[in-house]
């Protein structure tokens, strides 16, 4: 019922001490390169390198990493199947006229297009997971403040961040208690249990908010959260590795051009 939050993994991963900007450059650069590539090869290449970095450098458990891909890949396969059926082309393998003006077909071009989108999703997902698994949110707050994002937004983000962890514990406790009392035994029962779980979570979050403002008032809250930023130095090896990765990936994007699978 509850996924392990990637944040927990990010707080203790092998690349925790690397400069935040370097990690963001690698992750966001990889996402951008995946989007700009015109062949399925470059996103796959990027996914391969990043997966290597996540498993070997950040030392994330391989099973946890694989599970992250389960749901998105299922969704991607379904949507890609749709794209394959509606994207037309000249080299037709299979064709079905449902009604006049609406037909489904499988063509060489549509298979290429489907494969390309699927690989781009895999590449993009792995790049996003790289940021999620190596950079804790607390580091991203510091980057956002340095980038002069509106104070109100950052404060709101920090409160939401804090509330998530408070609520998560309460919801898990209530849920387990409900399961023990057979709260999810029939469909009707589970709807009621689920609703009371959500209602309890809403009231609990309301109380948590009230407590928070009282606690902050007691500590002279003036509408701005103090945030202690650690400045991690840009070390030579990680910097070199990121530059090498981005150069290699850019080369692959350019060289692979518009190569297709069939």
């Amino acid at each position: 019922m509850f996924e392990e939050l990637l944040e927990d993994i990010a707080q203790k991963n092998g690349l925790r001490e690397v400069n935040t900007y370097l990690k963001l450059a690698a992750g966001l650069g990889a996402i951008l390169l995946c989007l700009l590539s015109t062949s399925y090869i470059a996103p796959l290449f990027i996914a391969l390198l990043i997966t290597g970095a996540i498993l070997l450098l950040a030392r994330v458990d391989a099973k946890t990493y694989a599970e992250l891909f389960m749901v998105p890949v299922g969704f991607a396969l379904m949507s890609v199947a749709g794209i394959v059926l509606i994207t037309g082309g000249h080299d037709i393998f299979w064709h079905w006229d449902i009604v006049n003006g609406f037909s489904l077909s499988v063509t060489r071009e549509s298979i290429n297009q489907g494969m390309f989108v699927f690989c781009r999703v895999i590449g993009g997902m792995s790049a996003m997971c790289f940021i999620a698994l190596t950079t804790p949110m607390t580091d991203i707050f510091i980057v956002l403040r340095q980038c002069r994002v509106s104070e109100v937004v950052i404060d709101l983000m920090m409160i939401i961040y804090r509330t998530i962890f408070i609520l998560m514990n309460q919801v898990i406790q209530i849920y387990q208690a409900q399961v023990m009392r057979l709260g999810y035994s029939t469909y009707r029962e589970s709807l009621h249990s689920f609703a009371s779980l959500c209602g309890a979570a809403f009231i609990a979050s309301w109380d948590a908010g009230d407590d928070l403002i009282r606690a902050m008032d007691a500590r002279c809250y003036n509408g701005k959260f103090a945030l202690l930023g650690e400045n991690r130095p840009v070390e030579r090896f990680p910097c070199f590795a990121v530059v090498l990765f981005l150069t290699l990936s850019t080369t692959v994007v350019i060289v692979s051009g518009t190569i297709t699978i069939i």
Partner: protein
């Protein structure tokens, strides 16, 4: 399920970001104004965001067997209006992509438009329409939530159709196809979410009605008559 990282071509990522940014700026402007007049609103908004996140990480009991989660945006829209909800949603979507690997960063703009702007806007209009009528408040909450959920998925289908038009029939047949894939499986889920949130509402009315009165969602008379119905 949101659009995932890498699914949209970069041109469309850009288009949806451009569409989302004015809504966010309007939301931030309203947020600043609300906070200037009532600073207790900040933790309240924070917990709403936390609540939306927690709701979306819970899996809804579903008839079809497919898993889905409530969006929770309907409740936020009637509490704070659609534009502030857009800001809260943008933050929640960012957390979802970084905490749960749901959604994505380049497609964040597209997801903000569907889940943070169009869905809440629809829910909010229904709420404004029905608030001062004699319609039962549980039915109002049911309609707001179910419609906010439905329109989130209709917009997602539209975003996908615009990026991947069909060869025969163009955008329209592609829209129908994606609507078939996503929205139709979402109809039962949207109804279940509506029922669940109406029950949540009943729970809040019974235990802590002062929250609803303070947020000015419904008048004291409406809440009182709803309490009488329960007892």
């Amino acid at each position: 399920m949101h659009i995932m990282e890498g699914f949209l071509p970069w041109q469309w990522c850009l288009v949806w970001w451009i569409a989302a940014i004015p809504c966010l700026l309007l939301g931030i402007y309203q947020l600043k104004r609300v906070l200037a007049s009532d600073r207790e609103a900040l933790p309240l908004l924070g917990v709403t965001g936390g609540f939306v996140f927690i709701l979306s990480s819970l899996k809804l009991p579903s008839v079809t067997g497919s898993c889905s989660h409530p969006t929770g945006t309907g409740l936020s829209a009637i509490s704070f209006g659609p534009w502030i909800t857009a800001v809260v949603c943008a933050i929640v979507l960012l957390f979802q992509s970084l905490f749960l690997a749901h959604g994505g960063l380049s497609v964040l703009g597209a997801n903000i438009v569907s889940m943070g702007v169009v869905g809440p806007l629809m829910g909010y209009s229904v709420y404004r329409l029905l608030r001062n009528t004699s319609v039962n408040i549980y039915i109002t909450v049911f309609l707001v939530t179910a419609l906010a959920d439905m329109f989130t998925y209709v917009t997602t289908s539209l975003e996908l159709a615009l990026a991947y038009p069909a060869e025969t029939g163009g955008y329209i047949s592609s829209f129908i196809l994606f609507l078939g894939i996503f929205a139709v499986t979402q109809v039962p889920l949207a109804i279940v979410e509506g029922i669940v949130l109406a029950l949540v509402f009943k729970y809040i009315v019974a235990l802590k009605p002062d929250i609803l009165i303070r947020l000015n969602i419904f008048s004291k008379e409406q809440i009182d008559s709803a309490r009488d119905e329960i007892s």
